[in-house]
Subunit: 344 residues, 2 copies
DNA sequence: CTCGTCCATGGTATCGGTAACAGATCCCAG
DNA sequence: CTGGGATCTGTTACCGATACCATGGACGAG
């Protein structure tokens, strides 16, 4: 009954209780303890009570490694992601984590030093070696598609952000629809056409937004200016904004994210072009600060948390062996503030 | 040699290779395979080569659950954190993750729905049940201290952000020093005193910044205005900014983070008070966009990535049993831009 | 030529749980 | 009073790796 300590070793810890200890204290077999923990209704209430009392007394906690070894399930899901300091990925990750917590899953993350096929594969491998039950990829880049070509058989995988023809289920915000709304909004204000500051090439969200923007202009028979390519940062938005400010016929700009939009706003202002009187600007994301930009930014809100939850749900289905719908699109929402106005 | 498949079960997967399979293919015992993987120098080169060939051929990967069960080490570290969409925590997490990757550690995260003692304890428990080798707490809140009072013995824990008298090693940015620099900078520009927009009560960073700011004012014999308490959001900064704008004697404001500073800037501008001509504003964090605020924000840069790396290093030491230095302070840096100027 | 030593490898027990089956117990009908 | 099922609990055999000790062969010394 009393704890036996080995007289040696620097870390003189009382070894943690195991199932056998609980069984002994409760006067039952280890199997019964296991049942109490996993299928309580199969154990007589009074026995159960004794076992639970012993569990509390010894502060027993099951060893997950042993459980994983025999059941094959870990209760851990993996997330492969690129830069989690970016607002979108961070929020998505947060959504996943919350959903996971509610379902008693734990989340392991494998972040990538670069976005390409080989790193993505390595990230998945790293997680797989920890016996995760499934993996969510948050890497909205074309290279993700390649990385997903030959997945280890039997590992449930879900992708966030999408791309064409992925061999796995996808949860994503409908970038195309968001860009359509932003562009239509600007046209409806009387602008002849809409310039576009895009995200970096090969990013799925970036190309989705370009496609939506272009399709509206083409459908309306408007001139389609060449998109100006940024890298998501305010700095790149600023540099591009300086160029835009020099073009007097630019009156409406759709910027592929809020941070770049911030840079554009500053460049326009410095060049003496008023927003929205001279130029209207629409962003994308609706970061929490967007309402406090100068002027408050009209933008397209993405519900990243919801995307994360949907991705988790898809993964859960997949783990359960359900081959349900393979695509969950979350609708973005245009939030009109003060950076857009009718054409002067 | 050929794989035997059970004729049933919906998931008809060829069961993954185990160490015994590799051993058989290589014509050695499982023990030798284990040695090749863990202590290659103890195996004759030619045998080693045969084993490695078999490993590749079968795409063998060790089962970590089995390894954990016998070694007691998982190669996983846990991070307990609150809101990972905030810039600071997200960046810290990212720093931890990168450092962990370089050392072949995996990171599991347990995010908390609320910051208090009980949730922190639960977060640690959740991670512990997955046999993490150690835990890093990223919850710069006073409740963390309580949550750390009675830790499970033998679990290495490191705290990020600090607080007084924690029973565990701490890695943090020196908030006090940062606030001192910001305040001195404002005084050096000729301002009579400095107002302060603080973070929410009970947040460690918030109180550290208040203390640094107050100490400078007191040391210089300046009036110490009552701090105005925000909640880190641009919105709260805006509301507080409106109040500040009504006070004509407010000429210098030290705001406890950049997002609130953004709200303050907007409120001042709307009230017709020019920055920096009428009022100087200093932020804290140096988010990547700070240089594109209007005007570009003078702020205190925190190297969150470095904090994350230091925390990981401390944890690694702790796991190795080294009881080295228990505090790693990262120096913040004042970045002067255009939101501060000499008093008119 | 024999013995001791070292090196490479193998055998076996073990980590802490759970699946599958077996056995004990209880209750009630006949 | 006994048989038959239903319900509860125990026994045993693993899951896949590593620790520890044992063993066989090569080799140098005496």
């Amino acid at each position: 009954m009393t704890k036996v300590r080995t007289g040696e070793g620097p870390a003189e810890r009382p070894k943690a209780a195991v199932m056998e200890d609980v069984a002994e204290l409760a006067g039952v077999s280890a199997m019964t303890v296991s049942r109490v923990l996993n299928a309580p209704e199969k154990v007589r209430p009074e026995t159960r009570a004794r076992v639970l009392a012993a569990v509390r007394e010894l502060d027993y906690r099951p060893n997950s490694a042993a459980r994983v070894l025999v059941t094959g399930r870990s209760g851990v899901l993996g997330v492969v992601c690129f830069d989690t300091t970016l607002y979108g990925p961070a929020s998505t990750l947060y959504g996943i984590e919350q959903a996971a917590r509610d379902s008693d899953y734990l989340v392991s993350i494998a972040s990538l030093p670069a976005l390409n096929r080989s790193w993505i594969t390595r990230g998945i491998d790293r997680l797989r070696s920890q016996s995760v039950d499934g993996v969510i990829i948050v890497a909205p880049h074309e290279s993700a598609a390649e990385g997903l070509r030959n997945l280890p058989a039997g590992l449930p995988v879900v992708d966030v952000g999408g791309g064409a023809d992925l061999p796995v289920p996808v949860a994503a915000v409908d970038q195309y629809a968001g860009a359509v709304r932003a562009t239509r909004h600007l046209l409806s204000l009387g602008h002849g056409t809409v310039w576009h500051v895009s995200g970096p090439p090969n990013w799925i969200d970036a190309s989705g937004r370009v496609a939506g923007w272009r399709s509206v202009l083409e459908a309306e028979g408007r001139e389609v200016p060449e998109p100006l390519v940024g890298d998501w940062t305010a700095h790149s938005g600023y540099e591009i904004g300086k160029r835009l400010a020099r073009e007097p016929d630019v009156t409406a700009v759709f910027v592929a994210n809020d941070h770049m939009a911030m840079g554009v706003l500053r460049a326009l202002r410095e060049a003496g072009r008023r927003v929205p009187e001279d130029v209207s600007v629409v962003g994308f994301d609706d970061v929490p600060e967007a309402a406090y930009f100068w002027p408050p930014l009209t933008t397209v809100r993405q519900n990243f948390g919801e995307v994360g939850r949907q991705a988790f749900q898809l993964l859960l289905d997949r783990i359960a062996g359900v081959d349900g719908e393979a695509r969950r699109m979350v609708e973005p929402e245009l939030v009109v503030r003060e950076s857009t106005g009718v054409r002067a």
